[in-house]
């Protein structure tokens, strides 16, 4: 079995298309709503779903995702309920890659071995652990890779060439370029910097490159997709979910995401 992330990027490449990745905090406003939203995202053209594991102390997140995490925790969202959500989602969707994104402590507490095997069995394809740099990730990475889970590494504007080689050594799945020095939910930086950074990364790796943080609109997505293989929309979507609160098939949220994904047109 090939990993769905690899699959998705190679299919898109054949079609000469770029990916849209969306992030939602699981359990905001409820686990059942997240299930509906996941199906809606797929219908609206999202290629990869990132599911945020809520954490009590999200030091890399701005107020939007902080509040979403708090709401999710308040209504009882746990790592177990997240994995069972993925299991249910997989009953009707065998192809959309799912990446769990979060902080290390919940994973550590769950137990790394059992977390990786539970995640794989549920149908998860990759992990992004925000506070786990390469220096500390070998345990999780080794076990994850054995279970055919990608542990996605992050690159930032502060990454220099020497650091990049450390990050690339062992990186699988795709590379996540954090577009700004900062937390989620801030403004996007300018196009020229993105272009330069992506070109720099391209010289060093063949992995697909996704760009995230600060991407809010279809214009942003389109701009990012000119250079990178994928654009990640997070806070903007989480905010919409908070504002809308209703997730019909053809409703406002659907239109918002649909709009983002129409940038696919080559």
């Amino acid at each position: 079995m090939t990993n769905r992330i690899d699959n998705t990027f190679s299919v898109l490449k054949e079609k000469n298309r770029k990916a849209l990745i969306t992030f939602v905090t699981v359990g905001d406003p409820s686990i059942e709503d997240t299930h509906k939203i996941m199906n809606l995202l797929v219908d609206a053209g999202v290629d990869i779903i990132e599911l945020g594991i809520p954490f009590s102390d999200p030091i890399a997140d701005g107020t939007t995702i902080q509040s979403a995490s708090q709401r999710a925790l308040a209504n009882g969202t746990t790592l177990k309920s997240i994995l069972s959500l993925v299991t249910r989602f997989r009953k009707n969707n065998k192809h959309t890659p799912i990446v769990l994104m979060g902080y290390y402590n919940p994973v550590f507490r769950h137990g790394i071995e059992s977390f990786c095997s539970d995640a794989t069995n549920a149908g998860v394809d990759g992990l992004i652990i925000v506070d786990l740099p390469p220096e500390e990730d070998s345990l999780l990475r080794t076990i994850a890779n054995k279970d055919d889970l990608h542990l996605v590494r992050l690159v930032t504007p502060t990454t220099d060439e020497e650091r990049l080689s450390i990050i690339l050594d062992g990186a699988t799945g795709f590379l996540y370029y954090v577009s700004i020095n900062g937390i989620t939910g801030m403004q996007v930086i300018d196009e020229k910097t993105i272009e330069e950074r992506i070109n720099f990364l391209r010289q060093k790796t063949d992995l697909p490159i996704a760009v995230g943080f600060g991407i809010k609109s279809s214009e942003d997505v389109r701009m990012i997709q000119k250079y990178a293989d994928a654009a990640v929309v997070g806070s903007a979507l989480v905010k919409k979910i908070e504002e809308i609160g209703e997730f019909h098939k053809e409703g406002e949220l659907f239109n918002f995401v649909r709009d983002l994904s129409e940038t696919h047109v080559p």
């Binding site: 402590n105 550590f108 507490r109 506070d131 740099p133 500390e136 502060t158 990050i167 020095n181």
Partner: protein
């Protein structure tokens, strides 16, 4: 004489104290923390840097702080001889300034132009604001709203010193939340900003570096106690929030295994309740704020809110070196409740004429249990790591006084 150095080999080059410590931070911060580490390694043994530290320590902070024989308390406890290491007499009233001085000098050397810090009791905030005034650097202090309320004198002191105090209204509105917010600031302002962490927590090299700036406490004690008693103490006691005054007191004695070491965590309303801040006595291993240590947390790895009457101890984690020292059995960690600390606070005022901070009041409460069980020719050294002026409003409230 050969001295065995068993306990001074930590951490390794990636900041691991045994299995604890390390660097668990967003990638954006990694280059900064690596750079900080490089600069710190270089400066650590630099003559001029160390000359500046000793100059300011002596003439500005007032070091060495006295080692004082607390005779009336000794008589009262009717057991071991009790000495106070009087770090509450330091400029700004706590041990925190030893660390703030070192780190702000380092920041200046690195060319950083903006200083941020978190604070709980406000002592670290005041110390950092003080050194920033002295060295002419803009200073921003994150502080939880409920700490601003219970430590209001320190909020005003920071403002007088020219710092901006930024209220944090998330979570339990205490130290943990202030630290979250400071980290977010740091990730956002990586170019010009230096984050002065106030205790032996955070990613490597902070736990090691803060320890190194605080170990002067124990180094002085060793000289002073040998001069006074011609022998080493039998026991040492210090309060633990993140653990900086404790490791500062203990470090020079780690290899002297005849000296029993006690770290006193905040037991709040009791470690069998869920209102306490005793991470080692009542927590589990985990990862928070950059390092692997012990944490108060639930079964799902969500961090629990700590609770203590003392804002400086009200933190759900503890420095990784303490987790390590517990794991190898070198230090004993115990817990003291709010109530016990409050009685020790009052006892100290009346018998010694010293108004202690609520943090060392926890240490003293443990001394009140330990001393009577020891012989009269045995010696206890306790770190009187802060003075209690900041706490009088809070204590008055708890004792039912209106002032």
């Amino acid at each position: 004489m050969t001295i065995s150095d068993t306990y001074h080999h930590q951490p390794d080059e990636n900041g691991h104290f045994g299995e604890f410590g390390g660097r668990y931070i967003p990638e954006t911060l990694m280059p900064l923390v690596l750079d900080l580490n490089k600069h710190y390694r270089k400066l650590k043994d630099d003559k001029e840097f160390n000359r500046l530290i000793s100059y300011y320590s002596q003439h500005y902070i007032g070091r060495p702080s006295p080692l004082y024989f607390a005779e009336r308390l000794t008589n009262h406890f009717d057991g071991a001889k009790l000495y106070f290491k009087r770090d509450e007499l330091n400029h700004t009233g706590a041990h925190k300034i030893n660390n703030a001085l070192g780190q702000v000098l380092l920041a200046k050397h690195m060319g950083k132009t903006r200083i941020i810090a978190e604070t709980g009791a406000g002592q670290h905030g005041v110390a950092t604001a003080t050194i920033c005034a002295l060295l002419d650097l803009p200073c921003f202090i994150y502080m939880g709203e409920s700490d601003m309320e219970r430590q209001s004198p320190n909020v005003f002191r920071m403002k007088l010193l020219g710092a901006e105090v930024i209220p944090v209204s998330h979570g339990s509105k205490t130290l943990k939340d202030a630290m979250n917010e400071a980290m977010r600031d740091w990730v956002t302002n990586v170019e010009n900003t230096y984050y002065v962490i106030g205790t032996v927590a955070g990613p490597h090299p902070f736990p090691e570096m803060v320890r190194d700036f605080q170990k002067i406490i124990g180094i002085e004690v060793k000289e002073q106690i040998l001069a006074a008693e011609n022998k080493l103490p039998d026991a040492m006691v210090a309060a633990i929030g993140g653990g900086s005054n404790a490791i500062g007191l203990f470090y020079d004695f780690l290899n002297d295994t005849s000296v029993k070491l006690y770290g006193v965590e905040a037991g709040g309303k009791g470690i069998n309740t869920d209102e306490h801040a005793a991470s080692l006595s009542g927590g589990e291993p985990g990862v928070l704020h950059g390092s692997h240590s012990y944490l108060l947390q639930d079964d799902d790895g969500q961090i629990a809110d700590a609770y203590s009457i003392s804002a400086g101890l009200d933190y759900p984690g503890i420095g990784p070196e303490h987790a390590y020292l517990q794991s190898i059995g070198r230090v004993n960690y115990v817990a003291i409740s709010d109530e016990e600390a409050l009685s020790a606070f009052q006892l100290c005022c009346r018998l010694e004429g010293i108004i202690p901070a609520l943090e060392p009041s926890h240490a003293l409460a443990y001394v009140s249990q330990l001393a009577p069980s020891m012989k009269q020719d045995e010696i206890i050294v306790m770190n009187m790591c802060g003075r209690g002026d900041k706490d009088i409003f809070n204590v008055a409230k708890h004792l039912g006084f209106e002032i």
